[in-house]
C-alpha cells in the first residue's frame, strides 16, 4: 500500500492508503482526524470539502492524494482556533454566519482564499468567488456580511 508524505497545517504527516486515487478529503478526515472539511457531493459541485493547497481553494473531494506531493495543505483547523480564530472565522462568529454549518468549512476556506488575494474584495467579487459554494440553510446573506466585514475592515487594519 502506497505511503505519502503530506504537508498539512505546517506539519509533515505520513499516510498509507489502499488506493493512490483516494481523494484527499478522506485522507484528511479518516487518516489524519481533520474532519473540518466535509463530504457534500464528491463531485466538485458544492464546496463543502474545500481546503487550501498552495494557498488556493480547491475541492479536496476531487484531488487524488497521490497528486498533492509537497504542496502545502491548509485545512480549516489550521486556519484558526475557537480561541484564536483567523479574521475570516472571527467575522463568521461576529455575524453568526452558520445555521447547521455543514457548508461553513467551504465558505470560510473559499472566503479566506479570496481575501488573501483581494483583501478589499467587493460584494460582487465575494458573490462570484462563492458561486460554487452551496448552502441549503439560507445563510448566504450572513456569509456575505462576514466577508464584507473583513474586506471593509482591511484598510483600517493594514
Amino acid at each position: 500500500m502506497p505511503t505519502y508524505r503530506l504537508s498539512v497545517n505546517g506539519e509533515s504527516r505520513s499516510v498509507t492508503v489502499s488506493d493512490p486515487k483516494q481523494p484527499l478529503l478522506y485522507v484528511l478526515r479518516n487518516s489524519l482526524g481533520l474532519t473540518g472539511a466535509k463530504y457534500g457531493c464528491g463531485l466538485g459541485q458544492c464546496g463543502a470539502c474545500t481546503v487550501h493547497i498552495g494557498g488556493k481553494a480547491v475541492r479536496s473531494c476531487l484531488v487524488p492524494v497521490s497528486s498533492v506531493g509537497a504542496k502545502r495543505i491548509t485545512t480549516i483547523e489550521g486556519l484558526g482556533t475557537p480561541e484564536a480564530p483567523h479574521p475570516v472565522q472571527a467575522a463568521f462568529i461576529a455575524e453568526q454566519a452558520a445555521q447547521c454549518g455543514y457548508c461553513v468549512n467551504g465558505m470560510v476556506m473559499t472566503s479566506a482564499a479570496l481575501l488573501a488575494q483581494k483583501p478589499r474584495a467587493t460584494l460582487g467579487e465575494c458573490k462570484a468567488a462563492l458561486a460554487g459554494n452551496l448552502c441549503r440553510c439560507g445563510t448566504q446573506h450572513r456569509i456575505e456580511r462576514a466577508v464584507m466585514r473583513v474586506s471593509q475592515g482591511a484598510g483600517s487594519k493594514a
Binding site: 489524519l32 482526524g33 474532519t35 473540518g36 466535509k38 463530504y39 459541485q45 454566519a97 440553510c137 445563510t139
Partner: protein, 756 residues
C-alpha cells in the same frame, strides 16, 4: 458474503471475521482515526444515566450541580436553528441564573424526556415553553428551600444570578448550596408563576450561539464526523429502479478492494470495510442485478395522476355561507396551481453510526425525532425499547425528515450482520434520489368579487396525498428491502392547513380530495403543505385584486381584521417603499427587462405566527430569467426569545423557499429518480441572493410562537405576484424556471393576439 435470513440474528464477531476472511486487527489504515468518546462528547453527562426521563418531573429537565451550574435535558434538538441557545435562555431567565452556567443535552433517549419530534415549529412554542414551566417550578422550589434555611418568608426572597437572596439585600444561598446534586422530586407546576417579561434580562437578547466558534473553525463534531473504535464503514446499494428485487450479486466484483465485503439480507445489499474509501469503491464496483420496475408515474404524469386518484376520501375543511351557490350565480375566476415533488436536499448526505451487539443497540443519529427513532429501531431489530439508546448529534440541516432515519436503519442492519459498530453515510446520489420527498400538491381555486370589489365567494379544492393516520414512522428503505415487517403507509405532515383565504368573505369552502398514495415515498418538508397552499391562496388573492383593479395591499387590507396581521402586512410593504397601484405595472407590456413588485401574507396554521413577504423583481423577457432584487419580510412570532436566531431563521426560510420556488423539482421517470446531484437538482447560488430587509416584531406580552417555518410560506406567491406585476405573466406552476417563464410569455402573447 454474509447472508442473513429474513429478520435473522447477528453473526458473532468471530463468525463475521471468519466469514469475511479477514484477520482481526488487519487493515487499520492511517494512525490517527478520530475517536470521539461518548463521554467526551457529552461532557461527562453519562453520569446522569438512570435519571428520570419523565417530562412531568422537574428532574426530567434539570439537574443542579454542587458548583451551582445547571444541566438542562432537552428532548428538542438544535438542527441548526439556534434552539441550543434559545431554550437555555428561557430556562435561565426563569431560574435566575446566567445562561452561560447552563449546559444543554439534546435528544438523548437515555437522558432527555420525550418532547416529540423537533418539527412543525414546535421547538420553542411547545418544547421551550414546557421547559420554561419546569424552570419556574424549580425556581419556586429553590426559593422555598432558601426560605426555610434563611428563616424568612419566601415572598421576601428572589432568585437572581444563580442564588436565592433577600430582595432587600443581604447574603443569599447559591443554587448549588440549596440543592446541588440532589433531586427536586417535584412535578411540573402549571401554576408556577412566570417572570414578568418587562423584567427580562436574557430572553429577547441576541445572545451568540455557543456552537458557532467550533463550527467555523472545523472543531464541531457533526454526525458525519463521529466515529467509535472498531467501527466499519458501510454503504448500501440501492436498486436501479424503485421497488426492484435483487436478482444476483457478484461478490467477486469487489475482490481486492481492501477488506470490503458484502452483506445481503433479501433485497438489502450493502458493503462494509474498515476504510471508508474502500467501502465507497466497493459499493461502486459491486455488480448487482435487479429486476426492472416501472411502477412510478413519472414527474410529467404527476398532475394527471393527482386528478385521477385513487382517492381515499373527500374532506371539507371549512364551510361558511354557500360558496358553490354563490360561484354558480356569478362569473367566477378559476385557476389551478401546482407544486412539484421536492427533496430536502441536505448539504450533507444522511449519516448514522449504530453499534448493535449483545441484544443492545447504541444509535447515533441526526434525526429530528430521536425518541421516535428509538422505538423504530427497537421494533425493526426486535429489541426491547429499553435496550436501544439513540443519541442526537448535529447533522446537516434536514428541514423535515430527510434520510437520517433511513441511514440509522441501514447502519443497524449492517451492525447486526457484522457484530461491529457501523457508520453509514449516504452518497450524494443516495440523498437526492432516495430521501423521502416533499409531496406534490395540486389546488383548484374559484372566486367571485362583490360589486364593490371585495371577495364574494371562494372555493379551494385540494388534491393531496394523505398521511396514514398515526403512522408511527415513515417506512424505511433498508428494512423494506430486507423484508422486515414495518407499518406501511405514508407520511406527509399537516399539509392541508391554510387552504382558506385569511380575508373576510361571506361564502367560503375549502375541501380536499385525499389521495391514497404519493408518487415517491413522502415525508414532511419544511412548513408541510403550507408553502404550496399559500402559493395558491395568495396568488389567487392577487388575481382577484387585479380583476378588481385594486392595489394588492389595499385589496387585502379591506378584508383583514386581525390587528397583528395588519401590522406585519403594513410593515412589510413599508420596508419596500410600496406605492399603491393595481397590478400589472403600467410598464408590463414593454420590452427587455421588466420590473415589478409583489407581496403575500400568511397567518401560519391560522393561529400561529403572522408573516408577510414582499419583493421587487426583474424579469428578463428574452431569457425568462427572474432576478429578485430586494426581499422584505415582517414577522410576528409573539415573544422573541433570541432576536438574532429568529432573524437567522427568517433569512433561511426566505432564501431556501426562493430556491424551492425558482429551481427545484425532483425529476423521475417510470423507474427511478433522475435528479441525483446538484446539477440535476440545482439550488439557489450566491449571485442570486437578493438584498434582504427584515423586521422582527417583538411582542413580549404574547406567547412565543415558531419561527422555523412560517416565513417560508409567502415566498412563492410574493414572487409569482411580482412577476405578474412586472410583465403580466401569471405563474401557477413551480418551479419558475426560465423555460417556464418564457413559455408563459409566449402563451400570453398568443392569447393577446387572439383577443386583439
Amino acid at each position: 458474503m454474509i447472508a442473513v435470513a429474513n429478520g435473522g440474528g447477528a453473526l458473532s464477531r468471530r463468525e463475521f471475521l471468519k466469514a469475511s476472511g479477514a484477520a482481526a486487527g488487519v487493515l487499520v489504515i492511517g494512525a490517527a482515526i478520530p475517536r470521539i468518546a461518548l463521554a467526551q462528547q457529552r461532557g461527562g453527562a453519562e453520569a446522569a444515566i438512570g435519571k428520570t426521563l419523565d417530562a412531568s418531573e422537574v428532574d426530567g429537565f434539570f439537574a443542579v450541580h454542587a458548583d451551582g451550574s445547571v444541566t438542562l435535558f432537552s428532548g428538542k434538538v438544535d438542527l441548526g436553528t439556534g434552539l441550543r441557545i434559545a431554550i437555555p435562555q428561557m430556562a435561565a431567565e426563569e431560574l435566575g441564573i446566567d445562561v452561560a452556567r447552563i449546559r444543554i443535552i439534546e435528544g438523548d433517549t437515555g437522558l432527555t424526556p420525550d418532547q416529540g419530534a423537533t418539527a412543525g415549529s414546535t421547538g420553542i412554542m411547545r418544547g421551550g415553553v414546557q421547559i420554561r414551566q419546569a424552570a419556574a417550578t424549580a425556581r419556586e422550589a429553590l426559593i422555598g428551600i432558601a426560605a426555610q434555611r434563611l428563616g424568612r418568608p419566601a415572598a421576601e426572597l428572589e432568585a437572581v444570578n444563580g442564588e436565592v437572596r433577600p430582595r432587600a439585600g443581604g447574603a443569599g444561598l447559591g443554587f448549588g448550596e440549596l440543592i446541588g446534586d440532589k433531586r427536586f422530586g417535584l412535578k411540573l407546576d402549571a401554576k408556577a408563576p412566570l417572570r414578568d417579561p418587562s423584567a427580562y434580562t436574557m430572553v429577547g437578547k441576541p445572545i451568540k450561539r455557543p456552537d458557532v466558534p467550533a463550527k467555523v473553525t472545523g472543531r464541531h463534531v457533526y454526525m458525519q464526523d463521529f466515529s467509535v473504535p472498531g467501527m466499519l464503514h458501510g454503504r448500501v446499494i440501492r436498486p436501479s429502479s424503485v421497488g426492484a428485487k435483487l436478482v444476483s450479486v457478484d461478490e467477486a466484483s469487489i475482490r481486492g478492494i481492501g477488506n470490503a465485503r458484502v452483506v445481503r439480507i433479501n433485497d438489502f445489499v450493502g458493503v462494509v470495510a474498515d476504510d471508508e474509501w474502500d467501502a465507497i469503491r466497493a459499493a461502486r464496483a459491486l455488480k448487482a442485478t435487479w429486476t426492472k420496475e416501472e411502477g412510478l408515474v413519472g414527474d410529467a404524469g404527476v398532475r394527471d395522476w393527482m386528478r385521477r386518484g385513487p382517492f381515499e376520501a373527500d374532506e371539507t375543511l371549512m364551510k361558511r355561507g354557500d360558496a358553490r351557490a354563490a360561484l354558480a350565480a356569478g362569473k367566477p375566476l378559476k385557476a389551478s396551481y401546482y407544486w412539484p415533488v421536492q427533496s430536502h436536499a441536505s448539504m450533507g448526505p444522511s449519516c448514522a453510526v449504530v453499534d448493535l451487539r449483545d441484544g443492545k443497540a447504541m444509535v447515533w443519529s441526526a434525526s429530528q425525532a430521536t425518541h421516535r427513532l428509538r422505538g423504530i429501531v427497537a421494533r425493526l431489530m426486535q429489541l426491547p425499547a429499553e435496550a436501544v439508546r439513540v443519541v442526537y448529534l448535529d447533522g446537516a440541516g434536514c428541514y423535515g425528515m430527510n434520510g437520517h432515519d433511513d441511514a440509522a436503519a441501514d447502519a443497524a442492519l449492517l451492525s447486526r450482520a457484522t457484530g461491529r459498530p457501523v457508520r453509514v453515510q449516504w452518497m450524494r446520489e443516495d440523498e437526492h434520489a432516495w430521501d423521502p420527498k416533499g409531496p406534490p400538491q395540486l389546488l383548484d381555486l374559484e372566486g367571485t368579487l362583490t360589486p364593490d370589489g371585495r371577495i364574494g365567494a371562494w372555493k379551494t379544492e385540494m388534491f393531496l396525498p394523505r398521511a396514514t393516520a398515526s403512522l408511527p414512522n415513515v417506512p424505511l428503505l433498508g428494512p423494506a428491502a430486507a423484508g422486515i415487517a414495518q407499518p406501511m403507509g405514508i407520511s406527509t405532515g399537516l399539509i392541508s392547513q391554510n387552504g382558506n383565504p385569511p380575508y373576510a368573505a361571506p361564502n367560503v369552502e375549502v375541501m380536499v380530495h385525499w389521495l391514497k398514495d404519493a408518487p415517491l415515498r413522502p415525508s414532511n418538508i419544511r412548513a408541510p403543505g403550507k408553502v404550496a397552499n399559500c402559493f395558491a391562496v395568495e396568488s389567487f388573492t392577487d388575481e382577484l385584486a387585479a380583476a378588481a383593479g385594486r392595489d394588492p395591499v389595499e385589496f387585502r387590507l379591506q378584508g383583514l381584521g386581525d390587528a397583528r396581521g395588519i401590522e406585519v402586512l403594513k410593515r412589510t410593504v413599508a420596508l419596500l417603499g410600496w406605492q399603491p397601484r393595481p397590478s400589472p405595472a403600467p410598464t408590463a407590456n414593454g420590452k427587455g427587462v421588466a420590473v415589478g413588485r409583489g407581496m403575500a401574507y400568511m397567518h401560519y396554521k391560522n393561529n400561529e405566527t403572522y408573516v408577510a413577504v414582499a419583493m421587487e423583481v426583474e424579469v428578463d423577457r428574452g431569457s425568462g430569467a427572474i432576478r429578485v432584487k430586494r426581499l422584505a419580510c415582517a414577522h410576528d412570532c409573539g415573544l422573541v426569545i433570541n432576536a438574532d436566531a429568529v432573524r437567522a431563521q427568517i433569512e433561511g426560510n426566505l432564501l431556501q423557499t426562493l430556491s424551492r420556488t425558482l429551481h427545484e423539482e425532483t425529476k423521475f421517470d417510470r423507474s427511478a429518480v433522475s435528479s441525483r446531484d446538484w446539477s440535476s437538482y440545482p439550488i439557489l447560488k450566491f449571485p442570486e441572493v437578493p438584498e434582504m430587509l427584515i423586521d422582527v416584531v417583538d411582542r413580549p406580552k404574547e406567547p412565543p410562537l415558531g419561527a422555523g417555518e412560517a416565513a417560508a410560506t409567502p415566498v412563492p406567491a410574493a414572487l409569482a405576484n411580482a412577476v405578474f406585476d412586472a410583465c403580466g405573466v401569471r405563474l401557477r406552476t413551480a418551479p419558475f424556471t426560465r423555460e417556464r417563464v418564457k413559455a408563459a410569455m409566449v402563451a400570453m402573447a398568443t392569447e393577446n393576439k387572439r383577443k386583439a
